[in-house]
């Protein structure tokens, strides 16, 4: 994160801009081209963020693989606990909707910032945080409910795989909320920062990824 990190040095930009016609975009704000002088015409931080997301994809894939591998093993054991019995589809649907909605509000927030509409940017971002908090709260409620029903980390392979998979997902949600809150505060404090849009976009990419993981978890853990 940061204004100058990864941005090519001044001499690069001067060289490139002296060679090109830089047109100003029709946006209301002066456009800051963070890809100037780069080899692939991409933003360093955005490229790094996608690389990190690729890594996280493998992380969750391994967790999901473990869940799927142990599901039939669990089913064949005396301490078998059936996910269909324990997992409540109504609560789950609500949670999935909250997270999907938060992705929508996230992208609306970014669009608002890009259009220079500060009030909407703050409003949609706060909505994102609220929806995300709602998801976490619902997840916490689900966990405590399951514990009362007898599904715990120790009770069966289902308990182990389910709680570790969804627990890591929840942790990522919490990190995302912290991150987006920090971005919100930062943009409010430094409203003229040239890198604000990218800051929000990066946080948004992480947030959408966390939602994407839940889309997959919903199907493979709760539904199938």
């Amino acid at each position: 994160m940061g204004a100058h990190e990864g941005r090519p040095s001044t001499y690069d930009r001067e060289y490139i801009q002296s060679m090109s016609e830089t047109t100003t975009t029709p946006a209301a704000r002066p456009h800051y081209d963070s890809t100037a002088g780069t080899s692939m015409r991409v933003d360093n931080r955005k490229l790094g963020m996608w690389a990190f997301i690729g890594s996280e994809t493998l992380f969750f894939a391994t967790l999901i693989a473990t869940y799927l591998i142990y599901a039939p093993v669990n089913a064949a054991r005396p301490d078998f606990q059936d996910p269909k019995e324990f997992l409540d589809i109504e609560l789950t649907t609500v949670l999935a909707s909250l997270l999907l909605a938060s992705s929508l509000t996230m992208v609306l927030s970014l669009a608002a910032l890009r259009n220079g509409n500060r009030r909407r940017f703050v409003g949609w971002l706060v909505a994102t945080l609220a929806l995300g908090l709602g998801f976490l709260g619902g997840q916490a409620y689900e966990f405590s409910h399951l514990y009362h029903e007898g599904l715990t980390l120790e009770s069966s392979l289902l308990g182990s795989t389910f709680f570790v998979l969804t627990g890591f997902h929840g942790t990522h949600v919490a990190i995302g909320l912290t991150w987006l809150t920090a971005v919100l505060i930062k943009i409010i404090r430094y409203p003229n920062g040239l890198e604000n849009e990218m800051d929000l976009e990066l946080g948004g990419l992480y947030w959408h990824f966390v939602d994407l993981v839940w889309v997959v978890i919903l199907t493979f853990v709760y539904l199938l």
Binding site: M1, N44, L153
Partner: protein, 626 residues
């Protein structure tokens, strides 16, 4: 080609030597890839020595049958820490250190894409390494092998905190690795000098890029497996607890899904080093540049599909075994492509047998030997004989020591002048080389024989009367000879740093951009950004009369093509933030091992560090104006 080229070189500014740079604070707060590279190299070398001492202790124990020099548990701790140290704390960080220092220079960049993230990597690495070693005095080091097979790693069989230290120490170094890999990916893809297409990039940069991708895609699997093991040991889950339905073989799958790409992470950078060294000392361009580059890609890709060859004796089934055996044979092909291209590079060249060159040549031959034993291991029927014997130990030491370590020494001798400003002694280097080569072969060649004769691995004693006595004694002697050679290398370094001949910019008449700077380079690397027209930009500048047939031709550059020189050169300011964040993460790791009560402390420290980090965004100081 009458093209106006900027003068690549330094303005009349005296390059600051690192001796001038103020004290420890400048190192703790640095974001300069060169300083960070040096810290990686030095700390990696310290871990090399420690891992070597662990090896010597094991060799003493194994020199005679039924020895009582070490107890079984101490031996198990040493064998675990030796492997973990050499892989995670020596070869990987040494590769990263050399790449950190050299690759931005090779690319014509001022620094890495994310300098503060770079600093986070070095501190997380150091703290992770320290954490692993704290285990020795905190109840015992991990004693389950570097591969930590289940269910031996469960609390009942490994009751000390050792395995937890193994998990969290490596999670910490894993953070460093993944952050570093993201950094390299963005730097190499997006911060090359104008004109330097991917097809013109030095091969060391290519290999570093490939390795970075392998790393970010392979490490997460290890991370998940380690978390699962941690939860088994501390939170009551049953991932690898047989009685609860857990599958020890799943651990092996997840570990080796990471572990096999890991060995390519270890070797590919050193193959990149050799691909730089050989052309320079043959006074010829690398033969088959594209083949060497793309075979690296092929190795990286195939490397993800062969992991079961570490498990042929587990009973996966003949169909699966056959698939993975075929894939393992297949991955030898791109490796062979590289070797033939290296040989073709040497062919007809004007060979200069510097120490670095000798190490590079030895790399090729020793790696071939290791590759051949690997081929036999790739065949499941033969593997059933050889697995868990000293034959395997011979194989991986030939590729890792004979390969990676010799490649590292080649790189150290090659780039030492650039980094330190001094030349290493060729006379001492010659002694270093031959004693190391002989010592290494004496240590590891007999292991092929002992292993084929039935000596098992991962044992702390062995029976007399099996015909293994001579081999083990030779191996121990060889190990001590190797150690003496390493001491000789250190002596070379110390003597040369003090009184070695001052190194010019370009002592080897190299072709890549790092040689266009002073030795050592100034803090801002390049005053004027070089514009690149071929794979050998420096030879273009030095020998414009040489008519090299260009693989890709430039359109006529614009008439006023010149590298812009800005009025200011912006470099990120030094900051404590990465160090503070790393300390916070380390506190979290200790909280995970001992008590969650200190976790909030770790989070607070991290939070403070992050706030400082975000604030320091706005404080970049210009360094040089002209």
């Amino acid at each position: 080609m009458a093209v106006v080229q900027p003068k690549i070189g330094q303005p009349g500014v005296q390059a600051p030597s690192y001796a001038d740079k103020g004290g420890i604070v400048s190192w703790l707060t640095t974001t300069d890839h060169k300083k960070i590279g040096i810290m990686y190299i030095v700390s990696a070398f310290v871990f090399f020595l420690i891992g070597g001492i662990e090896a010597l202790l094991m060799r003493v124990q194994l020199s005679v049958p039924n020895n009582t020099f070490l107890t079984a548990d101490v031996y198990n701790q040493l064998v675990t820490m030796h492997g973990t140290t050499m892989i995670f704390l020596f070869v990987m960080p040494m590769n990263v250190g050399l790449a950190n220092y050299i690759v931005p220079l090779m690319l014509g960049a001022r620094d890495m894409a994310f300098p503060r993230l770079n600093a986070l990597s070095i501190w997380c690495f150091m703290l992770g390494g320290l954490m692993l070693y704290v285990s020795f005095v905190a109840g015992g080091a991990p004693n389950v092998g570097w591969f930590a097979y289940a269910p031996l790693t469960q609390k009942i069989y490994a009751p000390t905190h050792g395995v937890d230290y193994w998990i969290w120490g490596l999670l910490l170094t894993g953070v460093a690795s993944i952050a570093g890999a993201v950094n390299f990916i963005v730097t190499i893809l997006n911060m090359r000098a104008p004109g330097m297409t991917l097809n013109r990039m030095p091969l060391f940069a290519w290999m570093t890029l490939i390795v970075a991708f392998i790393l970010i895609w392979a490490f997460p699997t290890l991370t998940v497996a380690q978390f699962q093991l941690y939860f088994d040991r501390n939170w009551g889950t049953g991932f690898y607890v047989t009685e609860r339905g857990g599958d020890a073989v799943l651990w092996m799958h997840l570990f080796w899904f990471f572990g096999h790409p890991e060995v390519y992470i270890l070797i590919l950078p050193t193959m990149g080093i050799v691909s730089e060294v050989l052309p320079t000392y043959s006074r010829k361009p690398i033969f088959g540049y594209a083949f060497v580059a793309y075979s690296g890609v092929a190795i990286g890709f195939l490397g993800f599909l062969v992991w079961v060859h570490h498990m042929f004796a587990v009973g996966i089934g003949p169909l699966a075994n056959a698939f993975f055996s075929a894939a393992s044979f297949l991955v030898a092909i791109p490796t062979g492509v590289k070797i033939f291209n290296w040989i073709a590079t040497l062919w007809g060249g004007s060979i200069q047998l510097t120490t670095s060159m000798k190490f590079a040549l030895a790399f090729i031959s020793m790696f071939i030997i290791g590759g051949i034993s690997g081929i036999t291991l790739a065949s499941p029927p033969i593997n059933l004989q050889q697995t868990d014997s000293y034959y395997v130990v011979a194989h991986f030491h030939y590729v890792l020591f004979g390969g990676a370590v010799l490649g590292i020494f080649s790189g150290l001798y090659y780039w030492f002048p650039k980094i330190s400003g001094r030349m290493l002694s060729e006379r001492l280097g010659n002694w270093n080389f031959w004693t190391l080569l002989i010592g290494f072969n004496l240590t590891f060649f007999p292991m092929h024989i002992a292993g084929t004769d039935g000596m098992p691995r991962r044992v702390y004693t062995w029976e007399s009367g099996m015909g293994w006595e001579l081999w083990n004694m030779l191996e121990t002697v060889g190990a001590f000879l190797t150690a003496a050679s390493v001491l000789l290398f250190m002596w070379n370094v110390i003597v040369s740093l003090r009184a070695g001949q001052r190194a010019p910019n370009d002592p080897w008449d190299g072709s890549s951009l790092e040689w266009a700077t002073s030795s050592p380079p100034p803090v801002y690397n390049f005053a004027s950004l070089p514009v690149v027209h071929s794979r050998r930009p420096l030879w273009d500048t030095k020998y414009p009369e040489l008519n090299h047939d260009e693989e890709d031709t430039d359109p006529q550059p614009p008439a006023d093509a010149h590298a812009g020189h800005g009025d200011h050169i912006h470099l990120p300011s030094p900051t404590y933030a990465p160090l503070i964040v790393s300390i916070g993460v380390a506190v979290l790791a200790f909280a995970a091992i001992y008590t969650p009560l200190i976790a909030p402390i770790g989070l607070v420290i991290m939070g403070v560090g992050i706030v400082i980090w975000v604030r320091s965004n706005h404080k970049d100081a210009p360094v040089v104006s002209h």
